[in-house]
Amino acid sequence: MPIEFDQVGYTYIDPKSRKRKARRVERGQGASERGKWGTDPDAIWALREISFTVEDGEFLGVCGHTGSGKSTLIQHMNGLVHPAEGRVLFDGKDMADKAVAARVRTSCGMVFQYPEHQLFAETVYEDVAFGPRNMGLSADDVDARVREGLSSVGLDFEELHEKSPFELSGGQQRRVAFAGVLAMRPKVLVLDEPVAGLDPKARREFLALIKGLHETGLTVVMVSHSMEDLAELCDRVLVLSEGRRLLLGTPDEVFANAELLKSVGLAVPAPQALALRLRERGFSLNRGLYDVEGLAADLADELAPCLAARFEEAGKR
């Protein structure tokens, strides 16, 4: 079920006062109020002219600075936020329609930043069951969903289901929160910085978990600050800057634009950045996108002949 963004614009100011402001602009006052962006308190537009489609089964990465509109963008995907301009279509149907939006809620699972902060129930079981119960499922179905949700995040149902979620470690709490969303059996999983604040071990485990979920056929949209993670996991990457779409394409295509990304204060993955600098200093390195292994292999190929020649020379002497 593709999610299509059609010329979406969003503003924090309610449409009425926006009209008032627009009139003022027409009268020649407050003209400077336009064109202010990002974290500026006077900012009017959080998103502007955004068009793209989340395709079935893809892994889409979203990156951009704090205040670039990432969080606002993904909250359009399950109808939590409605565009001020343009349309968001889920499976070809406009989400402005309440019946469509209600259906989308269960097909599009949204995991917020620090999802463990939203845990509330007395037991892990009750917390995970919250979503399925809201869907009006029977007790048996709810039970099946809870078991399924917990097992898909790698937690042991027997061991944990009667515990209080607040007794668990931070990493486990986050898994429970994940399970609560997965128990609704969404088709699309939207993640807002799912590994923020985790230590390296937990971070790696979580990314592996997300990768596994995607491989089972789930469409995944992930917001992240880590270009390395995006390059490794995503089919496509969407880069936002000041509420607009800056780049959209495969990691190869996006991270070839090191200069453009730098101009808006974003980096490219470390191996790619090093490869680009080395290219400027006389290495050929002609792949589109480098990871550590690829870079090591190409560097070794390039350096081996001249090193061999040097050893030969040294041998002759």
Partner: protein
Amino acid sequence: MSEVAVFGQYWAGDSPVHRMDPRVKMLLSLAVMVVVFCAQGWLGLGACAAFIVGFFLAAQIPISQALRSIAPLLFLVVLTALLNVLFVQGGEVYFQWWIICVSEEGVTRAAFVACRLFLLLMSASLLTLTTATLDITEAFERLLAPFARIGLPAHELGMMMGIALRFLPQFTSELRTVYRAQVSRGATFTANPFKGGVRSLLALMIPLFTSAFRHAETLSSAMDARCYHGGVGRTRLRELSLGRLDAAGVAAVALMLAAVLACNVLAAGIL
């Protein structure tokens, strides 16, 4: 992120009223309210209105902003007016149906009370529009300081108020996030409270409480680490001092009181 004006919102500026000592402003705004209450007739109320408009001009706050800031409380004005219309009887009867009776005296009384309440709200909003919340807490704390001798924890009350104000916007944004997260999980907050509504409400309130405790734990460590040990021996970055502006403010309010009293006497004399 919401730009909707709320009662008590600060309107940044650098007018003489903004620059006045917050303690004086706090006391004077209380005084203005008392004066408004003292006004006996339409003449006195008119004088009050004139002075309050004058104060807003001095504060360089557009009247539209002032009206917007009290808009959420205007229902109080309407409610009081309605009650007066219904319960005060006398004079010519304009309209009668069942137990509802609208009379001349009721309408006059309602109009008068509504105007008075409106002016009271305006004078209260003048204080909050021209004084940052922090200055209000500080003024509050300092005005209470003399009572510390009889055991009133003035410093602690001020500190509590300050921290509450500091965390208010944060809790608002956290509440919004939790709300959206639970709505994403199919929670409904308008539905029948006996059919999942209570659970939804818990899903909203419990995360908010746990987050408050989490904040409180770190905050107390952080305050310890920064050597907080109560009000004793603490200095202040901002020292409040009275100036010419404050004298002018006191004079203006005194003048207002005199004018209103004169109007009262005048009105009484004529009647």
